[in-house]
Amino acid sequence: MFEVRSRAGKIALQVIITLMVLPFLFPLIVMVQESLSGAGFSNYRAVVDVPGFWRFFLNSAVISAGVIVIVYVVAMLGSYGFAKLRIAGREFYFWLLLACLTLPEVVLLAPLFVTDQRLNLYNTYWAVILPLSALQIPFAVLLTRNFINGLPDQLFEAIRVDGAGSIATFRHLIVPLTRPIAAAVVIFTLIGAWNDYLMPLVFLQSQSMQTITLIPTFFVGEFNNDQTKILASAVVTAIPEVVAYLGLQRLFERGLTAGAIK
């Protein structure tokens, strides 16, 4: 996009972009560096040795996986309906969904607390998985609907001429063709579910149910904050997400490029 011919110009461009990136790198360096200060890698040992650490890790993984599966299935079905099928009052339903984007988690706390206890969902995975999914679905549908809108109608006509009903169309066209945008949905849903702090804090009371975002609180005491271990646990919590992002990066970018939000 930006074209520079001269050698000096190229160097200047490189310097400018590097200087711009540095402030984004700086906090990450501070995080890793401080997490190693003092006792070095023993800080990480201390984090992993928190009683039940692997259990928290597992809980986070189960909750994230549950949310991702629900959001993926529901968003794919819904966006196919919104994008390519006939629905009376379609935009009304779409707005009904989009309005959910505006809802802050805090608003859900009191009503869900009462309902969870009535339905015996309190302190189960569902108490976190269901509201988190509900909060993630609108954005996932928004992304995926735009993506499917961008797929040529001729494809859908062709497969219909070949005798496929809407279920077969979904299986043979939508599922394989939406893989790039699915990667974006998975990444954003993973970020939302794995990073969530408030829902597990309020709805998962017993120690064995808690999630990895609550680990730093083990090192925040009334009188002494063990800063290095808080940062070590921050690094440990962030690693799975960074790995997932790097693994899906190519698909993710392709999904967004193919017309997610234009």
């Binding site: 968003a75 809802l103 009903g165 990073n195 234009k262």
Partner: protein, 332 residues
């Protein structure tokens, strides 16, 4: 009628080609009953109804979230501490109280400043990164990852890092002293004058990557030949950006504006975890105010009224921005 090109569902009907006849034609040949049947087939053939497909999304979102909104609306008419079994109804009392609450107006003002500042900064930075990383620079792949990684990491995880960095003995002030700008060193999050800008800077750090990936994706779709033609006509880099790139990504900008506005109204994690909405409410937002009202002060009814007002503002914002977007027909 062109049978080949019109959509049909032959799998279900061996006589699908016949079904493509116009109903009148069918009626003429097979009598009125047959015509009726064919018309029904034809309607089924056009495109199946999508309602069953969107039902799961509606059930889960509308069911769960709208139920919660309704419940919150009910609570907002009560003077309730969240525990007592027989709360008194106060009608719109909570709402009138909110309109006389300086902390509410303060929170709204912070939200406005926060939105304007972070949106402008993220848009500018995101677009510049997207343009520069689409150019021929080294390490572009690495830089892309560095800019996006903050989006991936939870605010809850980064908060302790920023608390340390922005403290009077923290890395930011150390760097300032190191490069001879020691007079700028100050307790960034500890004083009212710089607390809000600090929160905004942290937010920009977290979310620029998001603007960046969307702009990066949008720029990938600009037709190369248009850019080349403009260059042949003598357009420089800045002209290309102003006349071609910026208009082509307008849809993305509006979408990001909508999401930023909603995000600003929902802001909770960063001001709360960094500063507990302080000092002296300098970083109080609607989200943090609601949280304090519910969890710390037990004014559940008042908090519910605040939540309803927040939702109202957010929906109005969303509708205004989105309909502007639709009108421009940028979104397909």
């Amino acid at each position: 009628m062109d049978v080949i090109s019109s959509p049909s569902a032959p799998g279900r009907h061996p006589t699908a080609a016949q079904a493509e006849m116009s109903p009148e034609e069918g009626a003429a040949r097979g009598g009125p009953r047959r015509g009726l049947r064919l018309r029904r087939v034809r309607e089924g053939v056009k495109a199946a109804s999508g309602l069953p497909w969107i039902l799961p999304a509606l059930l889960l979102c509308v069911g769960l979230i709208y139920y919660c909104i309704g419940y919150t609306g009910y609570i907002s008419s009560l003077n309730w501490d969240g525990i007592s079994p027989n709360p008194a109804s106060v009608g719109f009392g909570n709402y009138t109280a909110i309109f006389h609450d300086p902390l509410f107006w303060g929170a709204l003002e912070h939200t406005g400043i926060f939105f304007a500042g972070t949106f402008v900064a993220q848009t500018a930075l995101g677009l510049i990164f997207a343009v520069l990383l689409h150019s021929k620079v080294r390490l572009a792949g690495l830089y892309k990852v560095i800019v996006f990684v903050p989006v991936v990491i939870a605010p809850a995880i980064m908060a302790p890092v920023f608390r340390e960095m922005l403290s009077p003995t923290g890395q930011v002030d150390q760097v300032l002293r190191h490069i001879g700008l020691g007079m700028l060193a100050q307790p960034w999050i500890g004083q009212t004058s710089t607390a809000l800008p600090s929160i905004m800077a942290i937010t920009v750090w977290e979310w620029t990557g998001f603007s960046f990936v969307l702009y990066y994706a949008a720029i990938s779709q600009i037709d190369e030949s248009v850019v080349e033609a403009a260059r042949l006509d003598g357009a420089g880099n800045l002209t290309v950006i102003r006349r071609i790139v910026w208009p082509s990504v307008a849809g993305t900008t509006v979408a990001l504006g909508t999401l930023s506005a909603i995000g600003a109204l929902k802001t909770f994690d960063i001001p709360w975890l960094i500063n507990q909405a302080g000092p002296d409410y300098a970083t109080n937002f609607l989200g943090t105010y609601i949280y304090q009202m519910v969890i710390q002060l037990d004014h559940v009814g008042y908090a519910a009224a605040l939540s309803i007002l927040l939702l109202f503002v957010a929906v109005v914002f969303g509708v205004v921005l989105q309909s502007g977007w639709r009108n421009r027909k940028v979104m397909q």
